[in-house]
Amino acid sequence: MSDPMAHRIAAATPPALAHRIRGLSDRAIAWVFVAPTIFLLLAVNIFPLIWTIRLSLTDFRTNRPNNPVKFVGIENYRKILTDADTWLSLQATAHFLIWTIVLQVVIGFALAYLINKKFRGNDLWTTLIVLPMMLSPAVVGNFWTFLYQPQIGLFNYVIAFFTGADPSSFSMIGEVGLAPWAIVIVDTWMWTPFVMLICLAGLRSIPPSIYEAAECDRASKWRQFWTITIPMVLPFLMLAVLFRGIENFKMFDLVVQLTGGGPGATTQLVSIDLKREAFEKWRTGYASAYAVILFVTVFGLASIYVKALNKVKDR
């Protein structure tokens, strides 16, 4: 059956253009379709990457565009990798990354396991649990600063209720020892639902027949959990860890809103440090080298992670 719309378009195409299009080979038509994507990829990803690598080898400063740009070789890299403050930022990032991922995976999986059981109000609970994920990080950061207020903050009163401590005796975002945990708590609160949803998808993809077969073989619930549930949810869990790992490695908005990197530099994650170098101190060459170091780290980690993920999926 012919399409009248297609006929109208074909009739409206100028004869010269129509002849040119008809004359293209399949390979050429494929290139015509793919070219815009390749062009965008080159313009948005590859060109900035090459430009950043080039800038990282110079002393260029964006706030002094008329100054002569000097080639400094690997000097920026040497400075970054011998700077104790940068080292502290990376340690703060490691603390944030490890604890958020551990807590989000454990709590997210536990919640998914519970939600996967049929009970009254199941859908309502799922919606309520997922709510924090839908909020803007700026909003979350802002209202958690109120919750963490030593005098009026609800968080301090809850802790005081359970421990008997004076609510105003500690400040979650004002103390060096507590601030790193404050940002871990908020990120966990906000993003555990995301991990829960991915785990829930994994749990719901397990065919019930496998559990029925295990029941016939008299496998205990504990054994079913370790030999059926965990292996079959593992690819989903690994995906969740990959997503959260990459996202938290570049965490910026939530932490800036919550602590601004303080007190001191205890919550100054690499992304905050990088932003300060690039747009407050205007050391563009130095910041570019910093960005290249982080890029290579994330790229290397993502490569081995994707390989591990493929291995788990192939099992």
């Binding site: 890299y77 990798l81 011998t82 780290t297």
Partner: protein, 61 residues
């Protein structure tokens, strides 16, 4: 022993394993809180591992 043989015969498995170890080592060195010297050498180790991983993923199985 088979690991070394694989390395000598330019097989993907052992070379990818070596690259993976280097990347993981580099990342641990980058984020560890114990020695600044390890932090200083973390990037070269990660870079070598990452480049090695990209190249060796094209080796035969």
């Amino acid at each position: 022993m088979s690991f070394l043989t694989g390395l000598l015969r330019l097989r993907r498995g052992p070379w990818e394993m070596l690259a993976t170890i280097l990347i993981a080592l580099g990342v641990v060195m980058l984020m560890q809180p114990f020695a600044l010297a390890l932090f200083t050498w973390s990037f070269p180790v990660t870079l070598v591992g990452t480049v090695m991983f990209i190249i060796t993923s094209h080796f035969p199985e």
